[in-house]
Amino acid sequence: MTRSVRHPVVRLALLVLVLVVSTGAVRAVYVGPREREAAELKARYGSLAAKVDDLQRGIGDLAAWSNAHPAERAEATRGRQAPPARELVPAFLKALEPIAARHGIVTETIDPVGPPAEETVPGLSGRPVRLLRQSLRFRLRGAYRDIAEYVREVDGMSAFVMARTVALRYDGTGYPALQAEVRFDLYGAP
């Protein structure tokens, strides 16, 4: 055995074998686990990077929003609410009163336009939203600019309310007061 090992070719073959086996062993025992660890670390890095990017973008958005709305809390929601159907008209009328008072608007008549009707509209990302609509027609009197501001404030209420139609008319008395007929559509949860 000792003498056969001494043959140069056998020795070379042994060296090559040792090289191959040791390379394989090093790959299996040392390099392989490290490559796996490196791959896991890369994946973790990607996940962490996405998280950090997202947070930094969020912080940037929050700061920008806060600068644009200095008087408001960034975490407070400003979305419109849909009140229950039974509270729809009373809540609207109660909210309307201070607005009309603020702009010196005289309300002459309030008439419902038809019965409450259910509507389905696409919401964000196309998701259908079911709401109950009640229309009210108001006959008002006030100056042009006051009526415009009054409509703007009603449009900006925190409920789903909008001025659907507006008609103005000067009836020849008490200028600059105009007679206005406004139809408001109110939307509540069915």
Partner: protein, 536 residues
């Protein structure tokens, strides 16, 4: 003597029929140091005893194979290679040995073109398989690992090559004086030209003095120790100096040594003559003594006087004194590819490549390769770890804002959802507040609005109904009064219509009627289509 821990490099062993020696050589940069044992091998001391005494068990050892059965010749053959050369050598060697060729192991080295230039010179060594097996067993039983088994001439050549200065043009006859026999090797530079064994050794001189004729005393019988002491004290030619107290005169010693000296001289002379003839007049320029020459004082002077050529003793130099140990020391410097009875004889190109690969180089290359395989992986892991750690640190610095960001996004999402629903509900309906504000800005001081109303399509007007039903197609009627400039309303009315046309909330402004109602005013009616372009 240095202990085993520093005795690290090479180990040479001489395993002759009548002599045994063990030599360790520690090699440094350009020098070699003999470490063991300090003096000539002790009589009867086995290699195993020396190995045990020095704690060298398990070390690799190279050995020389000597004896009457081992034949070494320089042959000139026609140019040939490989199997042809081996077959030719086998034929030649049949005539050189006294036992069947099947029981012999033949090793050779091609030295180069022959002196005549018609063939090749080959150094061939033949040894019985039995002797090789015995040598291997002897080394193994001594606790050593047999690595190389060569001949004295090759060991001497390796020793010469290891010497710091070697004149390649000088032809030297080396007399390696051993305890029982001597070896004559003639080399030119490091080319082996001739080698033979000579039966005269230190023991020959000692034996000659054991029965000495002393004038006036007759024959004196001495034991081996006394004879060696006498040899050391008198030497040859009285080289050791006459001892006043000595009872035996130097002349008597010389008379007794003369036969051995003459035999040695004759052997040397014949060898020098043979080489002179074989190599076309290239002659030996000096004789170098090595081995146990210190035990025969005056030998160099005697040989120089008789042979009429320079004779020098290769003695120990401060560091390069391995020559003094003779060819045994050369075992520690054996070249790859030198004659080796332990190496198989059929070495092809692959084997030569394999033989050229040094184990240390192979190990270093392997280690380097493994390092080159594993280092990038380790670096990659370290780099990724550092990146992840950095990112974790960054994440920790922004983590306190995470809840706020989540709440902020929820609020904005709710807003967006609400806005989307509101936009769907609004449809084509314009933002009336904006429309009214825009109209008020576009009506200049020359005009005054008296009515703004939606135009309800008449049931019989199918086209108008269809237009009104289309998304964004809401038509409004605008009525008002416009000033007349020099009894004409055209300019202010045209300006009003152009201004309305440029509004983002109305387009397709059309004049329905304009009629003078007073000297300074005309009543106008316009219709325009509300567009969603201005929807905020």
């Amino acid at each position: 003597m240095t202990g085993a821990p520093t005795f690290t490099r090479r180990l040479g062993a001489l395993l002759g029929d009548t002599s045994r020696a063990l030599i360790g050589v520690e090699r440094g940069q350009g020098w070699a140091r003999v470490l063991a044992p300090g003096g000539p091998p002790r009589a009867g001391a086995s290699v195993r005893e020396v190995v045990e005494a020095l704690g060298l068990g398990g070390r690799s050892a190279a050995a020389m194979l000597e004896g009457s059965d081992v034949v070494v010749r320089r042959l000139t053959l026609p140019p040939m290679k490989g199997a042809d050369l081996k077959a030719a050598l086998a034929l030649e060697c049949r005539n050189l040995i006294g036992y069947p060729i099947e029981e012999a192991v033949i090793r050779h080295e091609v030295l180069g073109p022959s002196v005549q230039g018609t063939g090749i010179d080959v150094l061939v060594a033949v040894a019985p398989k039995r002797a090789i097996s015995e040598s291997i067993r002897a080394l193994e039983s001594a606790g050593l690992l047999p690595r190389r088994l060569t001949i004295r001439a090759v060991a001497l050549r390796s020793l010469l090559r290891s010497a710091r200065s070697l004149d390649m043009d000088e032809e030297v006859a080396y007399l390696d004086l051993g305890p029982r026999e001597s070896h004559i090797t003639i080399v030119r530079g490091d080319e082996i030209r001739f080698t033979r064994e000579c039966g005269v050794g230190v023991a020959s001189f000692i034996d000659a003095l054991r029965s000495i004729v002393v004038p006036g005393q007759g024959v004196r019988l001495l034991d081996a120790g006394e004879a060696e002491t006498l040899l050391l004290s008198h030497g040859v030619l009285g080289g050791g100096g006459e001892q006043p107290s000595s009872e035996i005169p130097a002349s008597a010693v010389l008379v007794m040594l003369r036969p051995s000296l003459e035999r040695l001289t004759r052997e040397l002379w014949n060898s020098v003559d043979y080489v002179h003839e074989q190599f076309h007049g290239q002659t030996v320029s000096k004789i170098a003594l090595l081995g146990e020459t210190a035990r025969v004082p005056g030998l160099a002077s005697y040989l120089a006087g008789v042979l009429k050529m320079p004779v020098e003793t290769v003695d120990s130099e401060p560091e390069g004194g391995t020559l003094a140990w003779g060819a045994v020391a050369g075992l520690s410097h054996l070249d790859p590819g030198a004659i080796d009875f332990l190496e198989p004889s059929n070495l092809g190109p692959l084997s030569r490549v394999a033989g050229a690969v040094q184990p240390r180089v192979a190990i270093a290359a392997t280690a380097l390769l493994l390092l080159s395989v594993s280092l990038p992986a380790e670096m990659s892991v370290q780099r990724e770890r550092a990146r992840v750690t950095d990112l974790e640190r960054k994440l920790a610095s922004v983590a306190p804002y995470a809840d706020r960001v989540v709440r902020f996004r929820e609020a904005r999402s709710e807003e967006a959802s609400s806005d989307a629903v509101m936009a769907s509900l609004r449809g084509p309906t314009p933002p009336w507040a904006e429309v009214l504000r825009d109209l008020s800005h576009r009506v200049g001081p020359g005009a005054r609005l008296t009515s703004v109303a939606l135009v309800e399509p008449k049931p019989e007007d199918a086209d108008a109904a269809a237009v009104a039903a289309a998304p964004g197609a809401v038509t409004i009627r605008i009525e008002g009064l416009v000033k007349r400039e020099r009894l004409r309303p055209e300019a202010p009315l045209g300006g009003l219509m152009a201004s309305l046309e440029s509004s983002p909330y109305v387009d397709q402004v059309a004049l329905v009627t304009c009629q003078a109602v007073a000297v300074a005013e005309s009543r106008f009616v316009l219709e325009a289509r509300l567009s969603g372009g201005g929807t905020p």
